[in-house]
Structures are given as structure tokens and as C-alpha cells.
């Protein structure tokens, strides 16, 4: 190291820019693939989180706190949303079924729709709307205040310390909440069909047990698990990468909810398609 080694020519004027060495051509990405950058980063975060889940030490305290928080902001809205939702499905299916004289199948249809489709989606929308937005805002404001940088500097991985407990909490709450929403939605459907549409309780239950099967519940819980994971990852990803300043955090929250919704409905379609192909319907 010498003091004069780096001294540019001592002229008062603008020092000449050294010629930029040419970038290696192999690293140049194909044009038009830029839109894959963000999804790619999202995917990397998802994989990193999956790996970090099994790395010790597990942040148990943070997990419990997050779990409690997410559960407390989602349980009541989920229950309140699922009752009318179950009712709407029951009423719609009931009126349609009565037109084609298939009232006895109302139970099966509304329960299957409820468990397989409505319940995981309600759960995911609430998790991403209530919990995901909070996670995203929290991580986002920590990022712009350099708290996460500080954490990394202290040799603590923010992914392991903050993101993993949050994602696990959203997943667990989603799976458990899904059970509750299924029950409440089914009860709501039953109530509206039997009490308001003069359906027979016997036919409702009989058709239900004739057509519904256990894999319907499995796929419902699998969906809830995957949706919860997506909601947690997207919220964390947008929270970790806000674009500059408090306004950026607001935008990030907004985007995280919108992106989660889009992803959820797409993934739901894919999962439903796979399920219908793989699992033979009962009685077919």
C-alpha cells in the first residue's frame, strides 16, 4: 500500500475516466426476460425460507407472538365472512337444484363447494389482507429504518429471525383457520338450506355423506397450507424490498395484497384441476 498509488494526475480539471472494461458477454441476459426477475427473486426467497425453517436456532418466541397476532386478527373476520358465504352457496345451489328437481343433492353440492373452494380462499384472503399487510408493513418499515441491515451486520439473518417465524405462523394459522371456516360455513349452509329453503335435514346429510369423501378435506387443508405459505412469502418479499421511503412501504403493502390475490386464484385453479384429475369422485 502506498499513498501515491491511487493518486490521479494532479490537474485541476476533470480526471479522465478510465476505459470501462467490457462486461463478459455470457452474463448478458436475453432481452425480454426482465419480467422474470421479480418472480425469480420471490422464488429464491421461498426456497431460502424453506431451507431456513430447519436451521437452528428456531425462533420459538417470535413464532408464538406472530401466531397469536395473526390468529387474533383473522379468527373473528373469518367466522363472520364464512357464515354468509356458506349461506349464499347454499341458497344459490338450493334454488338451482330445486329447478332441476335435485334438492336432495343440495347438501353435497354446497358442502363440497364450501370445503374445497370457499373455505381455503376465505382463509387466504383474510390471512393476506389482515396478516400479510401487517407483516409487509412491519418488515417494510424495519427495512427503511435499516433495522434489518443492522441485524445482518450483527450476524443475525433477518430471514431466519423474522421471516421464517412469520411464514410458519401464517401457514399454521391458515391450516387451523381453514378447519374452523369449513365447519362454520357448513353449519351456515345447513341452517339456511334447512330453515329458510325448507330443505330436509335428512336429505342434506345423506347426500353429503353419499358424495363427500375424506380427500375433499385433505385437499382443502393442503390448499390452505399452500395459500398461507404464499401469503406469508409474498408479504415478506414485498416488505423486504420496499422502494424507497415511507411511501414505498405503503405501495409495497398494497402490492403484496394484490399479488397474493392474483397468485391465490391462479394456484387454486391449478390445484383444483390436479385434484379433479387425480382423485376419483365418490360413487363414480
Amino acid at each position: 500500500m502506498t499513498a501515491t498509488e491511487h493518486t490521479p494526475p494532479p490537474t485541476g480539471g476533470r480526471p479522465e475516466e478510465p476505459a470501462q472494461p467490457a462486461e463478459p458477454a455470457a452474463r448478458t441476459p436475453l432481452p425480454g426476460l426482465g419480467f422474470l426477475r421479480e418472480p425469480g427473486k420471490l422464488f429464491i426467497l421461498a426456497l431460502t425460507v424453506l431451507r431456513a425453517i430447519f436451521r437452528r436456532p428456531f425462533q420459538f418466541r417470535e413464532f408464538v407472538e406472530q401466531f397469536w397476532f395473526i390468529a387474533s386478527v383473522t379468527i373473528l373476520p373469518a367466522a363472520l365472512v364464512s357464515i354468509p358465504f356458506g349461506a349464499v352457496i347454499a341458497l344459490q345451489v338450493g334454488s338451482l337444484a330445486s329447478q332441476i328437481s335435485a334438492q336432495s343433492f343440495t347438501g353435497a353440492a354446497s358442502v363440497l363447494v364450501n370445503i374445497q373452494q370457499a373455505s381455503p380462499l376465505i382463509v387466504a384472503l383474510l390471512i393476506s389482507g389482515a396478516a400479510g399487510s401487517a407483516i409487509c408493513a412491519d418488515l417494510g418499515s424495519r427495512t427503511i429504518r435499516e433495522e434489518l441491515d443492522a441485524m445482518e451486520v450483527m450476524g443475525v439473518s433477518p430471514i431466519q429471525r423474522l421471516v421464517v417465524p412469520r411464514v410458519l405462523a401464517t401457514v399454521c394459522v391458515a391450516v387451523l383457520l381453514n378447519g374452523m371456516v369449513s365447519v362454520v360455513g357448513t353449519l351456515g349452509g345447513y341452517f339456511f338450506n334447512v330453515v329458510l329453503q325448507d330443505g330436509t335435514p335428512g336429505a342434506y346429510l345423506a347426500s353429503f355423506s353419499a358424495l363427500a369423501q375424506l380427500p375433499d378435506l385433505y385437499i382443502s387443508e393442503i390448499k390452505a397450507l399452500i395459500f398461507g405459505f404464499i401469503a406469508g412469502i409474498v408479504a415478506s418479499y414485498r416488505g423486504l424490498n420496499p422502494r424507497g421511503g415511507p411511501k414505498g412501504v405503503g405501495d409495497a403493502v398494497n402490492q403484496s395484497v394484490v399479488i397474493t390475490f392474483l397468485l391465490l386464484f391462479f394456484v387454486n385453479m391449478v390445484l383444483t384441476g390436479i385434484y379433479l384429475q387425480l382423485v376419483p369422485p365418490k360413487g363414480a
Partner: protein, 342 residues
């Protein structure tokens, strides 16, 4: 003893905007270095790339065998435990009080008992003068206090490399002087390698053993403090005298027209009157151990004396204690100069 940080060929761009390129320097183990530079020259980015928060495209930062740019993430995390970084505004965790903030690294990385943690944290709080405020939240204290709390947190794991990002910004002159003294005392006590990024002239003049300066995407120079403090380099001279005459303008670079006009007109304003002289370096508070870095640096500087510019040589020789043998007079700087300009 601190760890040496060897930076070579470091280049960083954000998008197409180049921040700085080809920075090569070595932070000598256990010594205090200062990186100067006008606002917006990427000093903070440089600091963050030393610790691996920012990944430069080219070059390496070697710390104890780990390249903070390209090594495996796990090694980098491990290496970071030897660092303490004081952020510009403290970067405290807003949801924790000061005590928990400062205890955070201990709780994450050590298995110390709570009583032990309390002892260490209170010790550090006393060091930065925050005893009595440990229950407060970061939002409830002033910027200067946040900064000091950030320093306390950076110190809690007894780091071997301490990086300070503008320890003076937002502090009054008296507190800045105290902070300077604190940094020197720290160096005497734990003999850590330190890098301070600042544009405060008092800190630059009194604290460091070595100084560097960033300007226009380049490292202008890096070397013993005497080199910069006696430098006739226009950029350095302008910066250290706080004058408006010179290559540094309000926007980062003056354009050629402004410079030409300036050359014709009379010198700008009274600020030019400030003359620079070499003030002595701060000593540790009496009662603390001698700074071992001083002795090491003296040997190092004496060995490289031939390569230094004459002004710096004279300054160093004047500073050398009498008990060291007088150095042979040589005129090698002339040769050095001629090598520079083929």
C-alpha cells in the same frame, strides 16, 4: 488485536450509475482510519460493502481469510460477528427499549446468563453516557442519543473491527469532541481496527492514524494521516480547508466552465483564509493503556517513509520521538514522481 481488512479492486455500480471503481487499500490491523469525501461520494456504500451488506461487482474484501463479497453466506455471517457497525442514525430496533437493543447481539450469539448480560450492557451504556435511559424506546430519545446507543450496541460483542458511519452527524461540537475521544479510548482499550466515515474536519484532523479520501468515483489517496493533512492535491486541500475554491462544487463536480471562470476571478470568500496545519493526534484519556497501534504504525510508517511525499515525510519526522534514530535523508520522492508520470 484487530484484524486487517484488505480491499482490492473494489467496483460498485447501481444500475448504470457507477459509485466508485477500483478501490484498493488496506486498513492496518488495530489502527484507526478515516475515510473522507464530499457528500454523495459513496462513503456509506463503501462501508456497507466492507461488511457484505452491499455486493460490489468486482474486487474483494478480505477479512481473516473470508472474502466479504463472494464467500459463502454462512462464512460471511460468521465473519460479521467480528464486526461492529455504527449506523448513521443508530438503526436501533424500534420495538425494543435501549437495554434490549444493546443486549440483542449478546442474546443472539452467546449463552450468557441474564445477570451477566445486564452487567455488560450497563458497562457499555456507561461508556457512551446513557445510564438511566435504558428503559426508553428509540423513538423517545434524541438523534445523538440514538447514535450513541447504536455505538454501544456495536461494541457489545467486543468486535475486532469497528466501522462508524458519520459518528458526528447530528451531534453538537462538544459531543463530537467527546465521541472522538471515546473512539480513541476504545482503540486503546480493545485495540480494534477502526474505520470512520465522516466529513467532519475535526475528527479527520485529530482521530485517525490513516486517512483516505473518495472523490469522483475514485479513491484519491489512502495513507498515513500526515500524507493527507499535508497534501497539496487540489481536492484534498480544498476539502480539508473547507474552501469553495477547487474541484469540489455544490453538485458533486464543477464543470469546466465554472472552473475556468473561477481561475480568472479572485479567490472566493473568507473561507479561503483558513490555513491548515498539522494538529497532534488525540491521546487516550490518562489512566488508559497506551495505544499499541501507535507503536505498530510508527514502524510501518518509518519503513514506507521513502515512498511518501516530502511534506508528509517532514511532518512524520518532526513527530517521531527523539529516542528513535534520525532517519537518513534521501531524495527518492523525486524518483517516485518520475515513475508516476512516464
Amino acid at each position: 488485536m484487530g484484524i486487517e481488512v484488505a480491499v482490492s479492486g473494489l467496483t460498485k455500480s447501481f444500475g448504470s450509475k457507477n459509485i466508485w471503481q477500483d478501490i484498493t487499500l488496506t486498513l492496518p490491523a488495530g489502527e484507526v482510519s478515516v475515510m473522507l469525501g464530499p457528500s454523495g461520494t459513496g462513503k456509506t456504500v463503501f462501508l456497507k460493502s466492507l461488511i457484505g451488506l452491499v455486493k460490489p461487482e468486482r474486487g474483494s474484501v478480505l477479512v481473516d481469510g473470508v472474502d466479504m463479497v463472494r464467500s459463502r453466506e454462512r462464512d460471511i455471517y460468521e465473519a460479521r460477528k467480528t464486526f461492529g457497525l455504527m449506523f448513521q442514525d443508530g438503526a436501533l430496533f424500534g420495538s425494543m427499549n435501549l437495554f434490549d437493543n444493546i443486549a440483542f447481539p449478546l442474546r443472539e450469539h452467546t449463552r450468557k446468563k441474564e445477570s451477566e448480560i445486564r452487567r455488560i450492557v450497563m458497562e457499555r451504556l456507561e461508556m457512551v453516557g446513557l445510564v438511566g435511559d435504558e428503559e426508553k424506546l428509540p423513538g423517545e430519545i434524541s438523534g445523538g442519543m440514538r447514535k450513541r446507543a447504536g455505538l454501544a450496541r456495536a461494541l457489545v460483542l467486543d468486535p475486532q473491527i469497528i466501522l462508524c458511519d458519520e459518528p458526528d452527524s447530528g451531534l453538537d461540537p462538544v459531543r463530537t469532541a467527546y465521541t472522538s475521544q471515546l473512539l480513541i479510548d476504545l482503540n486503546a482499550q480493545i485495540d480494534a481496527t477502526m474505520l470512520i466515515v465522516t466529513h467532519n474536519l475535526d475528527i479527520a484532523a485529530t482521530v485517525p492514524d490513516n486517512m483516505g479520501m473518495l472523490f469522483r468515483r475514485h479513491l484519491v489517496t489512502f495513507g498515513p494521516r500526515e500524507v493527507l493533512l499535508t497534501s497539496e492535491e487540489p481536492v484534498v486541500a480544498q476539502f480539508l480547508s473547507g474552501s469553495r475554491t477547487g474541484p469540489i462544487g455544490m453538485s458533486e463536480e464543477k464543470d469546466a466552465a465554472t472552473l475556468a471562470r473561477e481561475a480568472d476571478s479572485a479567490a472566493l470568500g473568507p473561507l479561503n483564509a483558513v490555513t491548515r496545519r498539522l494538529v497532534p493526534q488525540l491521546e487516550p484519556t490518562p489512566g488508559l493503556p497506551e495505544r499499541q497501534a501507535v507503536r505498530r504504525r510508527r514502524e510501518r510508517v518509518v519503513n514506507m517513509l521513502d515512498e511518501l511525499p516530502p511534506a508528509a515525510r517532514r511532518a512524520i519526522e518532526a513527530d517521531l520521538p527523539q529516542n528513535l534514530a534520525p532517519l537518513p535523508q534521501r531524495t527518492s520522492t523525486v524518483r517516485q514522481r518520475s515513475q508516476e508520470r512516464p
